[in-house]
Every structure is written in structure tokens, then in C-alpha cells.
Amino acid sequence: MSVQNVMVTADIAARRRSGVLAGLLILVVLLALISLGIGPVRLSPVAVIDALFGGGSDVQQVIVREIRLPRTILGFAIGAILGLSGAALQGLLRNPLASPSLFGAPQSAAFGAVLVIALGLADVRSYALPVAAIAMAFASVFVLLTIAGRNAGLLILILAGLAISSLAGAATALVMNLSSNPFVVLEIAFWLLGSLEDRSFRHVVLALPFIVTGAIVLLSQRNAFRALSLGEETAQSLGVDVGRLRLLVITGVALGVGGAVAVTGTIGFIGLVAPHLMRPLIGHDPTRLLVPSAFTGAALLLSADIAVRIIPSTTDIKVGVLTSIIGVPFFLYLIMRERRALGGGVA
């Protein structure tokens, strides 16, 4: 076997991954067009493209560009950052069950946001909201990783995550409990369910800078995840500053999840599911999973957001409820598959 042979097999694998990525890209664009076309006034993808670029009637332009575009942009960006965060956390912890929602990050972010709303410090359109959400998301992931320690097993991570999400949930309940205004409580309760409905460009401006920064931070560390496959100590011996990496990943996840939760409430389980859908196609390399997981996350959230508009029901189904209804059974399935590792208390 020569150097050329070694490189050729690597090339074939690389071409396969590019194919998967191109497929995902097409899927996401199609879903975005469907998302822009669906609602009380149904528009065909062609009409949507037409309206996007200034064609069609004025009414169509307003519907697509002002009413539905913010929702679709948020669906794409939030789905993508959740998928990316999940893949990054799984890479950092070398653990297929890691994800922001299992670690209580969205729940903690929601608590931060709810606290700000209940204290009357901000309405739902101010920057105080994402900042509070990001701070709490950062605190939750930081505490979790500190409790879990350097070479945490599955059980410790899941248990610590359970404790932190329960605490965040309880704290949120306490805030609602103490709130004297029943309308505020109702508003918070609905907001917590997680939804992309009626979002404006104001919301996009509120969340997008944080989401983009978070994504850049996570992607800038992409190569370190592969070295981490060999364990933290070996990665360090290869020149990866593991302490710095941990801090950057926590920051990136907190920025992304906090920014997302601030405008949509909690939308869970996309970060857990997306990397798993990609492993059969891309392989287990944590670095190569990042970008495909982001696109898968975007596709998942756009699909879920389309589904809640299609499923006939008397009141609106919130998209966060739908992702949890689908995500939790998937989580159970993963637990079943990882049973051996969990039983042994290792991995």
C-alpha cells in the first residue's frame, strides 16, 4: 500500500460526506420554502420564491417577507445552533447522550429569562432577556461540568443534568408562584412551551447575533474534538489546551442556547437527536459531525414548525411540545441501546 492508496480511500470518504452535506442543504432549502408557504394563506414554493425577490402581489410580499420570513429564519438558525451544540457537547464529553436539554441548559436559560420578565426588568423584546438567558445557560453547563469532573461517566452526567434541570424548573415555578399578576403567569407558561409563532424581525435581531457568535466559537474549536477522542490527557499531549476548550465550548453552547431560548422559549431534544441521525451517514468522527448536525437540527426544527401548522387541532400546538414528544421516546431508545454502558457505570 502506498501513500496514494492511503489518500484515495480518505478521498472516497470525503466525497461521500460532501454528498450528504449537499443533500442536507437541498433539504433545508426546500423545508424553508415550504415553511414560508404554509399558513392561513397557502403559497406554492414558486410563489414564495417570486415574493421573496419582489414579485407577486403586495399581499403575498408582506406575508412572505414580513410575517413568515422571521419565523423561518429563526427556525433555521435555532435548529442549527441546537444541532451544533449537541454535537459539540457530545464531542467534548465523548458521550453520545450529551445534549443541552439533558443538561438543563434551556431550562436554566428559561429561568433566567422568566426571572427578568417577572421582575419587570424587561419586556419580551429587550436585550436583557437574551443576556439573562445566556448567563443562566452558562452557569448551568459550567456547574454541570464542574460537578461531573474531568472524566465523567454517563451516569454522573445524566444525574447531574437531571438535578440541574429540576432545579431550574423548580426555580421557574417559584417565580411564577410568587408572581402576583395572573396574566404575566399565563404569558410565561405559554412562552415556556416553546414556539416560533408570531416572531418578528425584532426577535431575529435579538437572537441572531448571539446564535452566530456561539456557532463561530464552537466551529473554531472543531479540530480539537477529534483529538479528544483519545481522552483529555492524550489530547493535551497532542497540543490541545483542554481547559480552554471546555470553557469555549460552554461559552458557545450558552450563547447559542441562551439566545435561542430568549426568543422562542424551550425547544428541546434537537441537539440530542441531530448528531445521532448523522452518525450512520457521516461516521463517528466528532469533528465531521458538527456541520451536518447543524443542518440536521435546522431541518428538524423547520419540519416540526411546519408540522404544528399542518396538524389539525383546536388550539395551536407549540413546537417545543412537539420536539419533546418526539425527542423523549428517542432518548428512551438511546438509553436502551446504551444499556450496557449505563449498567456498567462506565463509558
Partner: protein, 260 residues
């Protein structure tokens, strides 16, 4: 202390969790040597490797190739020390070739799918040296323990570092695989690399090493060629065993025989 030594340490102390694990260790080791670190469990052998690689904070001075370890950036350290940890942990089922390619990470080759010709050649050389080319596309999780240890060794060789630090590279391998690993390390030493290997196998240490360093309770208590470093007195004091000693084909033969 010889001026020609590539790796020097003076008065190295390491304290872990309030316990002095390494106590005033000084050594001078030259390129082209295979050095075996032996000693009872908890004597500080692994800690010394980790201190040399800069993985645990230490007091004292460590110099490699004329530079103080503390003055080197993480990446530069990674180019000088190739570290093979115990157990060959791999958390994801990656292809063997991708694992070996991680050896080029300190040289800036962070993507195994896009190696420069120079990096690709280093990877191939390393895989040939440990005879893992045939399963370069297989996932490491599908390999046997012996095969996996050879992949791990190839990853370390691919760094092409002047110093290799190997922590119990032959643990849990059958005799033939132990020999394969020791011969690969011996070949590296013969090419001018300083190889430092922790081992509990005194027979292998005597057979393959140029120098043996004996540790006990965090101190370097004896060093030299295998037969002198592992003298009857040292064996008795440090390991509390006696050994059958002989010479065969110009190599020392030491076989632990009875407790004392």
C-alpha cells in the same frame, strides 16, 4: 549530568492531592536510548512521564533539547514528546488511519482527510513500522487488543518526536505482541529517538532497554544498565523478590523467582 543529554531534569517534585508523588528526581537521558522505568505500583513512574510531557504541574527544572519545558508552548511540547497513555482509550469508533493521523496534529495536520504529502508519508511510515496498514480503514473498536495497541503505537510514532513516552505499552498483551511492541520501540531508539517506557515486566526491561531507572516511593533509587540497575540488592529492597539472573546472547536475563 552529561552535556550531551537530550532530556535533563533537576530536583523535580510533583505533589498530587497533598501527597509528594515524585521526590527530588534528577536525571539526564540521551537520544538513541531505550530507557525502562520500573518500580512497584505507586512508585511515581507514570507521574514522571506525565510531568515530562507537561501534563501535571511540577517543581524543579526540566529541559528538553536545551529548552526549559516551561518555556515551550503547548504545540511545541507536543512536537517534542509523543505520549502513549495506558490502556489505549478511544471513545469513538474511528478508522485506524484517522487515529494514526492524529499523531500529526501537533504539526498542524488537524484533518486526516487533508494531509500534506509529508504528513501522509509520516502516517504511512508509522503504520508500516507497526504493521497496521492492512486494517487502516477498519474501526478501532472492531480490532483485537493486540491490533489496537499497535494502532496506538503507530499514532505515537507518527508524531516523529525526538522523545517517546510510553506508559506500560506491553500491558495485557500476549508474549508475541509484547515483543512486537518492544521491537518497534527498540527500532525507534536505534534511529535516534529517546524512548522512555514504563513497565512492570523486568524481563522485557532487561532484554530490550539500554538503561533502567528504578523508582521507589517517588524517588529514583537506582539507574544504569539493566544488570547493574536491577542488582540483587535493589531487587530485594525495592521489589522484595529475588530473581534468576543469567546472560543469553549478550543480553541480561532477569526472571523474578521468589519473594523475600
Amino acid at each position: 549530568m552529561t552535556a550531551s543529554a537530550f532530556l535533563n531534569a533537576w530536583g523535580v517534585n510533583v505533589t498530587l492531592a497533598g501527597r509528594l508523588v515524585l521526590n527530588d528526581v534528577s536525571l539526564a537521558l540521551s537520544s538513541g536510548h531505550l530507557v525502562a522505568l520500573v518500580g512497584p505500583n505507586g512508585a511515581g513512574k507514570t507521574t514522571l512521564l506525565r510531568a515530562l510531557a507537561g501534563l501535571v504541574p511540577s517543581e524543579g527544572v526540566i529541559e528538553v533539547g536545551g529548552d526549559a519545558l516551561s518555556s515551550l508552548a503547548l504545540r511545541e511540547r507536543a512536537r517534542r514528546f509523543a505520549y502513549l497513555p495506558q490502556g489505549h482509550v478511544v471513545h469513538w469508533p474511528l478508522a485506524a488511519r484517522d487515529i494514526v493521523a492524529l499523531g500529526r496534529y501537533p504539526h498542524g495536520a488537524t484533518d486526516p482527510a487533508r494531509l500534506t504529502p509529508k504528513d501522509a508519508e509520516a502516517v504511512l511510515r508509522a503504520m508500516q513500522a507497526t504493521d497496521v496498514v492492512e486494517f487502516s480503514e477498519r474501526r478501532v473498536t472492531e480490532l483485537s487488543g493486540g491490533e489496537r495497541s499497535r494502532v496506538a503505537l503507530a499514532r505515537v510514532l507518527a508524531v516523529e518526536a525526538p522523545v517517546i513516552l510510553a506508559d506500560e505499552p506491553t500491558a495485557s498483551l500476549d508474549p508475541r505482541h509484547q515483543f512486537d511492541v518492544m521491537k518497534s520501540l527498540r527500532a525507534s531508539a536505534d534511529k535516534g529517538v529517546l524512548v522512555i517506557a514504563v513497565t512492570h515486566d523486568l524481563g522485557l526491561a532487561a532484554r530490550f532497554a539500554d538503561t533502567v531507572l528504578v523508582f521507589s516511593d517517588g524517588r529514583l533509587v537506582s539507574q544504569g544498565a539493566p544488570a547493574e540497575a536491577l542488582s540483587e540488592t535493589t531487587m530485594g529492597e525495592v521489589f522484595r523478590i529475588s530473581a534468576y539472573r543469567a546472560e543469553y546472547q549478550c543480553e541480561a536475563v532477569i526472571v523474578p523467582w521468589a519473594e523475600i
